[in-house]
């Protein structure tokens, strides 16, 4: 069946201060929101700024606010979010807008660094490999958290990030949970120290917006709850000093 008429698309133009600009975009079968934005940039206004790379839901660079919800635009079909033929596309929330649909992602990734979401090897390359059973609780917990594509949709959806800019946020804390569950890490307590401070996991209200909006169905709220538990145990053992 041919799609009806065209789409009425409102696109954010400008930086923090700006306005929505309306475009008419042809309706196509199996059209994604990223297709719509790309059509506007190529056919209507080449000055439109936005980010994308892989177009297949792997790189996590094309997230935007679509009809009020943060979404990955390359895997969001227009037919699912704009049945009435109207689309509003804005930059992701909770991040500073650089121009149009492109946000400054630097603070987002800085929080990953602050949350110590990285691997610190305990052994050298000449040491024997440490076996990690796929069935171990730690490996299972890491598996559940590790497929994050860094799209910042959860960060944009989080109420606590909106309320306090220093909060590490669901993505960085989810990454820290994956790192803490890596039994090969040389200093796992360092992860708990990094996420147990004023800006850390204790601020999560468990609203679960992150889990609700995550395009790859990760549950950062569960990861944060795990960090809270592990942090409490470490605190009671006197390991957080």
């Amino acid at each position: 069946m041919n799609p009806p008429d065209g789409l009425e698309v409102q696109i954010w133009r400008g930086g923090a201060e700006g306005r929505f600009q309306t475009f008419r975009v042809p309706r196509r079968p199996n059209q994604t929101v990223l297709d719509v934005v790309t059509w506007i940039q190529r056919e209507a206004d080449p000055t439109l700024s936005y980010r994308f790379a892989c177009r297949v839901g792997v790189c996590g660079s094309c997230a935007m606010t679509v009809n009020g919800r943060p979404r990955w635009t390359c895997r969001t079909h227009v037919s699912k979010v704009a049945a009435d033929g109207k689309l509003t596309v804005a930059p992701l929330g909770n991040l500073a807008v650089i121009k149009d649909l492109a946000c400054d992602m630097a603070p987002f990734f800085e929080k990953w660094r602050q949350a110590r979401g990285r691997f610190e090897a305990a052994l050298g390359r000449d040491d024997p490999l440490v076996p990690v059973s796929p069935e171990s609780p730690e490996r299972r917990a890491a598996d559940a958290a590790i497929e994050c594509i860094n799209c910042a949709v959860c960060h944009a959806a989080c109420d606590v990030v909106a309320w306090r800019a220093d909060y590490l946020g669901p993505a960085a804390l989810n990454r820290a949970w994956a790192a803490w569950n890596d039994v090969r890490d040389g200093d796992r307590t360092a992860v708990l120290r990094a996420v147990s401070g004023e800006s850390g996991c204790g601020n999560c209200h468990s609203h679960q917006s992150c889990a609700e909006h995550c395009p790859v169905e990760i549950n950062p709220t569960r990861a944060i709850a795990g960090l809270k538990r592990a942090g409490l145990v470490a605190l009671l053992k006197g390991e957080l000093r």
């Binding site: 606590v160 309320w163 306090r164 147990s196 401070g197 004023e198 850390g200 204790g202 601020n203 809270k228 942090g231 409490l232 470490a234 605190l235 009671l236 957080l240």
Partner: protein
């Protein structure tokens, strides 16, 4: 919120659950039995158990409430954590003084 504040808030919440239930039961008992103020004071004056229970209740509420208030001040009033801590501590101190004064009066003061 630091892990230490998180622990204290959770621990006081754990204490408050039974304390609130007992407090509600006491209210229901006093109201449904039709006790007058004088009859209530007759029961509370000199009662070490009542004084300890409500004294503990006041301390727990002041602590738990202040931590929650601190979070609200940071998130909704956008105060810096240090300033929010000072404001919430002041609130906790006021709650503590007023509450303990009331408990003291109900438990220790002699009828005029």
């Amino acid at each position: 919120m630091t892990a230490r504040l998180f622990l204290v808030q959770r621990a006081t919440a754990l204490l408050l659950a039974p304390l609130v239930l007992v407090h509600l039961a006491v209210i229901v008992y006093a109201v449904r039995s039709g006790l007058s103020a004088e009859e209530i004071l007759d029961r509370t004056r000199g009662s070490v158990g009542w004084g300890l229970f409500y004294g503990g209740f006041v301390v727990t509420v002041a602590t738990h409430g202040a931590i929650g208030l601190r979070t609200i001040l940071i998130e909704w009033a956008e105060l810096r954590p240090r300033i929010a801590s000072a404001a919430a501590s002041t609130g906790a101190l006021a709650l503590l003084l007023l509450g303990l004064r009331a408990v003291w009066a109900m438990t220790m003061m002699v009828a005029p």
